[in-house]
Every structure is written in C-alpha cells, then in structure tokens.
Amino acid sequence: MSKEEQFVNLIHENQGLIYKIATIYAKEKAEQDDLYQEIVYQTWKSFDHFKKASKPSTWLYRVGMNTAITHLNKSKKQLNTLPFDQVTIQFSESIDSEKEEKIQLLYAQIRKLNLLDRGIIFLFLEEKTYEEIAEISGISVSNVGTRMSRIRQKLKSEMNPKSTTDGTR
C-alpha cells in the first residue's frame, strides 16, 4: 500500500475523531472546517513519524490537539479554508432536539475551558484513563487528577448553577 493510501485510510477511519477535535476547539462552522482541514494537512506533513510511532492512536490525538492549539493561537481571525463543498462530516440523520440542545451546551461549556483543559476533558470523554490522558497531553497523572476535579467543578457550576448554589447534586 502506498503512503498516500495509508494516509487516506488513517484519516478516513478517524474522521469522527478529527471532527470532534475541530468542534471542541472552534465555535463557528467556518472555523471548524478550517481547523479540520489543517489537522488533515498536518497529519500528512508528519505522516512519516506516524509510521514509526509506537502507539498510533496516541500520536493522532496529539497531532490533532497540537494542531488545534497552535492553529488557534496563530491566527484567530485568519481563516484559510479551501472551497470544498463537503469538508466536514455532515449529519444526515437528525438527533432529537433535546439531546442536540444538551450536546450544544456541552460543547459551549467545554469551549470555555483553557486550551489544555479542553484537551483533557475531551480525552476523558473519549474514555481514556488518567494514565493515557497524562501520556497524550504531557502532564503527570496526579496533575490530570487535579485538573479533572477542577474541570468537573467548573462544568458542574456552569451547566447547572442552581444545583451548586443549593448544594444539591
């Protein structure tokens, strides 16, 4: 299999992952498309390292998160999206409106976190263990724990301010 074929297969199999990274790091659809394309491009640029990586899944999470961090830091307002009609995954089936509303609320709250914490909660939601989160994000396991409890508090208070003021769960 050629390098191009391997790359295309990797991206094709992980489009959902890239889509989710683009969505938690960028708010507007145009920004998400731009970030999505940038992650695809950066993955291609460093694809030779992927082939040597001991843990390919860790590698892709890292490239995705690192691209989001550097891309958003570099050019917050300069979009460089290419004019393709369908560059991100399109939802063909509708999700029920209540669930959709909750998902949008979840995204909105995650986007309020700082860039590193956004990545940590994303990995947590992706069912990664604290050890895996530490390995991917480059911080210690105990730091992951500390950050997670801080994020938990923050999300809880922002998504349900009444319950925290009442002291209820």
């Binding site: 890292r62 550097t70 830091n73 290419l82 063909s92």
Partner: protein, 197 residues
C-alpha cells in the same frame, strides 16, 4: 450535568458521528494537496520583502558612508544601519521560533508552553520593533537629505526646531500606542503559561 451524563452524551455523539457520511477518500488527498499549495503561497512575503528593503537601505548607507560630512549624520547613518539589520533579524528569528514547534513529536502541554513563550518573544520583538521603527523614521531624513545634496536644508535651524519636537512627539505617541496594543496580547499568553503549571 454530571460527568457521567456528559460521558453518555458524548458516547451518543460519537456513535452519531461514526454513522454519518464520510468525506470521499479522493477528496481527502485533494484537500491535503490544496492546503500544501496554499501554505506555500502564504510564505511570509511581506516579512521577506521588508527585510530586503531594510538590507538594501543598510547597504546603501554603508556604501555612501564616506560621503557624510556632518558628524551627526554619520551617527544617524550608523543608527539606521544597525536598526535596519537588527530589526529584520530579530523579527525573522522570533517568527522562526514560533513556527519551529513540532506538533508531531511533542505533547500538547509542552507545545502550549513553547508556543506561548515564542509568542511572547515575538510580540515583544514587534513592540520594540515598532519603537525602533519610529527612531528610524526620525533619524532617516537628515542623512538622506545630505546624500541628496540638500545639505543647506538641514543646516537651517528652523528645520531642527520643527523636526525635533515633531519627531519626539511622533515617537512618544507611537510608543504609547504600541505598548497599549501589545500589552493585552502578551498578558494573555503569560496567563496561558501560568495555567499550564
């Protein structure tokens, strides 16, 4: 919403994402190639052009240095040569630092730290760059006037009576503007660095 509920919501979302139509494989490679071309097109042309202009001026002053008869024009020319060489070098080095982060080899926490440090350095260079640019504008006219053969203009006291106050006022206003403009950006990057610790 508790984390467990978030997790279950996220799992639903992941399932939905996986079910959706994926981008055609051919299109993926096309996106990559187009992005590669567009990133080549956006190579810092303004920065390179600016550096060429600065280097050209520095060379011009160096080659005509022996033509300066007035002592302060020799000093101004030296200041100009220094700024026109140092400024592009500092600016290009800072940009290179910001771009040299390896997103495929390092962890996000490390990338974030390196990137923000480079960014702070870059904005500081930009800040001092603009101030030095104002000094450059102020010190450029007298030596150029002498080289153009209009030496009598700069030997007239009226010229200096207008030139010095207006030049100093210009530098003061620009410096104040630049400090205000970049203060927020540098502070935001420093805050981000503190959050990583």
């Amino acid at each position: 919403m508790e984390l467990d509920e978030m997790k279950s919501l996220w799992a639903d979302l992941s399932l939905q994402v996986e079910k959706q139509d994926k981008i055609q494989k051919e299109l993926l490679m096309e996106i990559t190639k187009q992005k590669f071309r567009s990133s080549l097109n956006s190579v810092r042309i303004p920065e390179i052009l600016g550096s060429i202009v600065c280097a050209g001026y520095a060379m011009y002053f160096l080659s005509r240095f022996s033509d300066f008869e007035i002592w302060y024009n020799q000093v101004f020319a030296l200041v100009n040569i220094f700024i026109m060489i140092a400024l592009p070098v500092a600016s290009l080095t800072a940009i290179k630092g910001m771009r040299s982060v390896r997103i495929d080899l390092e962890a996000p926490a490390v990338i974030l730290e390196k990137f923000n440090k480079s960014k702070i350095r870059f904005w500081k260079v930009q800040r001092y760059g603009m101030i030095l640019g104002a000094v450059l504008l102020f010190t450029l006219i007298p030596p150029l006037t002498e080289l153009n053969g209009s030496i009598e203009k700069i030997q007239n006291p009226t010229f200096w009576m207008i030139y010095i106050p207006s030049g100093l006022l210009f530098i003061f206003l620009l410096t104040r503007f630049v400090y205000k403009k970049y203060k927020g950006t540098i502070e935001a990057s420093e805050k981000m660095l503190r959050q990583i610790d």
